[in-house]
């Protein structure tokens, strides 16, 4: 790769990646303190994909996210305070504490929702892209899905529909190599490249831990999709650095494998680029880190102090109106 990202944009992306990383680290702490229950899936190690792709979208564009979706939301303009408030189940959260980590959404920001149902978002992306075309806008929809999700019928029906109708959908395949305990070689027959070809959808594959590679690949792909040429499948290879959920003993993989991937940490990679290109000094990096950490700490405090949803609101939002 000889193209280089503009230094300012790279710094910007670096900050968003840090925001995501520190957000996830904060959740780990809150979980350990027993302040979060249920299942919360962290995207540590996958930040470059969310930032590299979503960084190219317009505000009006849509994303459809997954159960591992905090990074997608923060990259689409999500704010730390309502994010963390939601994850703590509080009133000030994006979903008033009713949805939680797996259902974070903001129609205003163009995030049509994280999803507790693996592959649940793909058909929705077909719908939002269809709607964009019917409403004659140039909005595109980027739908994220994992290696696990790739094996559900939803995924195949959606790829077929989007191709058949030439819809503006970017199928963003986040291959982090695992679906809970199942490594991709034990779950996927064929390959995403061949599957895309089977549906007549163009395909590209990049190193998902390299934000620059993601950025440049996504730039072309998004241009293709926005220009009315139909869908695209983009595969980003990465690694789920944490367990499937907090407390996962990870009996299904070796620590050597995890260590190998730790060396390819997408954030460390950007720091290396800063050094190589003399963009930022170690001190400047440290001060950026401290700044983002302070933002996150502030948001945690805000979320912890936010009130619980009132019991008498329990029924609200089930229907838009009743009777």
């Amino acid at each position: 790769m000889n193209r280089q990202m503009d230094a300012e944009l790279l710094i910007d992306h670096f900050q968003t990646m840090l925001r995501i990383r520190f957000h996830e680290e904060a959740i780990k702490k809150l979980f350990a303190q027993g302040k979060i229950g249920g299942s919360t899936h962290l995207c540590i190690g996958q930040e470059a994909i969310a930032v590299g792709v979503i960084g190219l979208l317009k505000k009006e564009d849509y994303i459809v996210s997954t159960h591992r979706g905090h990074g997608h939301m923060l990259a689409k303009g999500g704010q730390l305070k309502p994010m963390l408030a939601e994850i703590l189940g509080k009133n000030d959260g994006y979903c008033k504490g009713k949805g939680g980590s797996m259902h974070i959404a903001s129609i205003e920001l163009g995030n049509l929702g994280a999803n507790g149902i693996v592959s649940g978002g793909l058909p929705i992306a077909v719908g939002s892209a269809l709607s964009a075309r019917m409403r004659k806008t140039d909005q595109i929809t980027v739908v994220f899905f994992g290696d696990g999700a790739s094996n559900e019928g939803n995924t195949h029906e959606s790829m077929n529909l989007a191709s058949l109708w030439k819809l503006p959908v970017l199928f963003l395949f986040e291959n982090n190599h695992y679906a809970v305990s199942t490594e991709i070689s034990r779950s996927m027959a064929g390959s995403m490249a061949k599957r895309a070809a089977g549906y007549d959808i163009p395909f590209t594959e990049v190193d998902g831990n390299d934000v620059e590679a993601v950025h440049f690949a996504a730039e072309e792909v998004i241009d293709h999709v926005r220009s009315g040429n139909g869908p695209f499948v983009m595969q980003c290879n990465t690694y789920r650095m944490e367990g499937h959920y907090f407390g996962d003993a990870m009996v299904y993989r070796t620590s050597a494998e995890v260590e190998e991937w730790r060396k390819k940490d997408p954030i460390l990679h950007v720091e290396q680029l800063f050094r190589e290109r003399s963009i930022l000094t170690a001190d400047e990096i440290a001060s950026l880190r401290a700044g983002i950490q302070a933002e996150v700490d502030d948001a945690v405090a805000f979320a912890e102090n936010s009130s619980q949803p009132a019991l008498d609101s329990i029924f609200s939002d089930v229907y838009s109106e009743w009777q």
Partner: protein
């Protein structure tokens, strides 16, 4: 959960046609650990890890069942069964009938259901009554470790397609379980506690909540009779009807939302029976609120019946406040 595991292990030891298939059930031992260790004993040919493909799991189970195997499928969270619906409802349930009785469809689909874990709206549902509505399926819901093993073994031996709903919060309950193989026939209600003042019919986790409520009420001199149908379909009506004839009052408690829930069916069974003439109060249902399960823990707690709600409802009914 050890009871379920032991049941599966013994069934697999005894009958090589029995195998288990589902997501992350091998080395990982299942999302809740129910199948932990089984892969070491039986290997990956009989403890089959699948990709995330619930329609595929259901179809594989049905196809294997009609060709001589006795599969046990696992749906990681019962919510995901919605993806298997076509295979289960349109194929597995009706096959015997449509084929003029020429197919046996002997499978058990185990599903982890229920709320109380903070997992929000798509991981907490209680969908059992959807399946009660489908002719051809049997629906089982154990409430104790003893019942879990005995009902599971009976289900594995049964020649019909069976939906076996486990409650996530019950996986950790302790109770006496015989080591040997035993079965509890499907279609036998269980009188869990005897009493003269009120018949309380409860399913799954609500049975233990009802027992706690009954103990509190006993201190006030109110004697509750608790009946656990154990299999929602086929339903053993007689113990329920007999009990209501004795007490004259019926309270039905389940976690699934009230509207369209199994409680309506039970109420109708009572009303259509000779017990109707003995009722001296309306039949009451206490069930989940008519809403998705909220993420916030306090709202989640209040979305489904708790011990204190059962105490209050039972007391009102006994005291003639309805």
């Amino acid at each position: 959960m050890e009871a379920l595991r032991e049941g599966m292990r013994q069934a697999m030891q005894q009958d090589e046609r029995v195998f288990v298939i589902g997501e992350d059930i091998g080395v990982y031992g299942g999302a809740f650990g129910v199948t932990a260790g089984l892969i070491d004993e039986f290997g990956p040919k009989r403890i089959i890890d699948t990709p995330i493909s619930e329609a595929g799991i259901a179809g594989a189970v049905i196809g294997a069942a009609i060709t001589g195997m006795r599969p046990i499928g696992e749906i990681q969270f019962s919510d995901f069964v919605v993806i298997s619906m076509e295979q289960l409802v349109m194929q597995g349930a009706k096959m015997r009938f449509m084929f003029g009785g020429k197919a046996d469809v002997p499978f058990v689909m185990r599903l982890a259901g229920g709320s109380g874990t903070g997992a929000a709206a798509q991981h907490s549902e209680s969908l059992e009554n959807w399946f009660v509505h489908v002719p051809g399926l049997k629906v089982v819901m154990p409430s104790s470790p003893y019942d879990a093993k005995g009902l599971l073994l009976a289900a594995i031996q049964d020649n019909n397609p069976i939906m076996f709903f486990e409650h996530k919060l019950l996986y950790k309950t302790k109770g006496p379980v015989p080591e040997e193989m035993y079965t509890i026939p499907l279609g036998q209600s269980h009188v869990v506690r005897e009493g003269k003042d009120l018949t309380l019919i409860a399913t799954s986790i609500m049975v233990s909540r009802a027992q706690q409520a009954a103990e509190q009420l006993a201190e006030e001199g109110i004697e509750i009779e608790i009946i656990d149908p154990r299999t929602l379909k086929p339903l053993d009506e007689k113990p329920i009807v007999d009990s209501v004839i004795k007490t004259g009052k019926a309270l039905i408690v389940h976690e699934a939302v009230k509207t369209g829930g199994f409680g309506g069916e039970l109420a109708a069974v009572i009303m259509e029976s000779e017990a109707f003439a003995y009722l001296d109060a309306p039949v009451r249902r206490l069930a989940g609120l008519d809403m998705p399960i909220p993420y916030n823990r306090n709202l989640e707690y209040h979305a489904v019946p708790q011990v204190e709600n059962i105490v209050e409802e039972a007391r009102k009914l006994v005291k003639g406040q309805y």
